[in-house]
Symmetry: C2
Subunit: 234 residues, 2 copies
Amino acid sequence: MGPEMTESRGRSVRSYNQYCAVARGLDVIGDRWTLLLVRNLLLGPKRYKDLLEGLPGIGTNLLAARLRELEDVGLLERAVLPPPAGSTVYRLTETGAALEPVLMAISRWGGRFLGRPRPEDALVPSAYFVALRAAFQPDVAAHLEETYEFRIAGSVFEVRVDGGVCSTREGEARNPDAVLTLSVETLDALLFEGLSPEDALSNGRVEVRGDPRALDRFLSVFDVRAAALAGMPG
Amino acid sequence: MGPEMTESRGRSVRSYNQYCAVARGLDVIGDRWTLLLVRNLLLGPKRYKDLLEGLPGIGTNLLAARLRELEDVGLLERAVLPPPAGSTVYRLTETGAALEPVLMAISRWGGRFLGRPRPEDALVPSAYFVALRAAFQPDVAAHLEETYEFRIAGSVFEVRVDGGVCSTREGEARNPDAVLTLSVETLDALLFEGLSPEDALSNGRVEVRGDPRALDRFLSVFDVRAAALAGMPG
DNA sequence: CGGAATCCTCTTCGATACTG
DNA sequence: CAGTATCGAAGAGGATTCCG
């Protein structure tokens, strides 16, 4: 007789108890850390440790609990990688991946509060590659078809632009037109501070294998700051 | 030195402390009840009491705290109605109204968990009129221009469809083509259970002033159940 | 070493009672 | 009507420990 709904593994979850799609959705994704967890998984399957590192501040117990809950409601599933890796990874189900429009909308709206990094802010590489999807300008990129590989602080990301569609994921790129090695700070400067590709290249802040002008083209199709200013429906 | 950010009125708010638009957005809208509060305000300014009734289960202290917080961060503002009403209402600022795409995305996604009402679910009329925006099919309604007034359980809502755009708000409609009086249960049956307009009218479950066939046209341009099934980006 | 369960403290939430 | 005050219950955060 409390405001609760009981769930498959016997844990009890708070519900708004309203017949409303928004309320039901928030019953599932409204808890702390949940959407950030999904954000990181949008870039591909991850191990427990990867998730823990990508969510600075989450407790190990809370991460374990969230993973269980989200598996129960069908947002993600456990998978075991084929040998020799053999490790367990968590990956989004179709239902979990369907949260992308929600994340994109929040990203565009949240941009207006972004400002510049505060001293206490962590710069999480994954976050940039999800933000890129929200900042992608399909009309500007209509005739661009190119694949980039970014190597940042021990992580590797693929960004693919093709026919007005942009996809990003963690992992090595297939047939990249350019492989760029740089720091998170340099990526940030390129995207948010207007650091010019030329300067970044000549200063050696970005190292390129492949066509050096790819960095220009890459930057031209994203507008992180515009996304930060407008609500950008659709 | 905890993971906090201090705010204008001295209250302390948990932050994810990540340089990420999603994280920053969630710092603002991630707390319990916040998005449902915004959902209700999307239909127009509301008094404290209206908000309290539209959010069954929220404590009065929590509602007051949320209103203060959201005013502080600039999502809503207090306004005093002109005499003779003179009462205080809360209304969304531009920043608050810019959350509509977020609410729409959550509504479309949350639909897949909606099912049928549970015994403990409240049927909040406001929720239906926000859901209608998410379920609107612009292409189907391209040539429809019509205004409806719905009278439900002491509340009045306006739904306007014009040139592929749908707007809904709480309050009397201006120049309605049809004024429909019905219960929440009947609205639910029409939208979710496939109750036919003809039956609803002949049974007297819906009372119409104006063109009775307006109810047909109204229902034809929304697909709540399709919105519930697909992720429906854009 | 990755993947958790446990324990403890602190904050937030929810319900009710009370006040301008 | 529009909130504030209070207090028990639930949830989050951090450190540590345990298991394979």
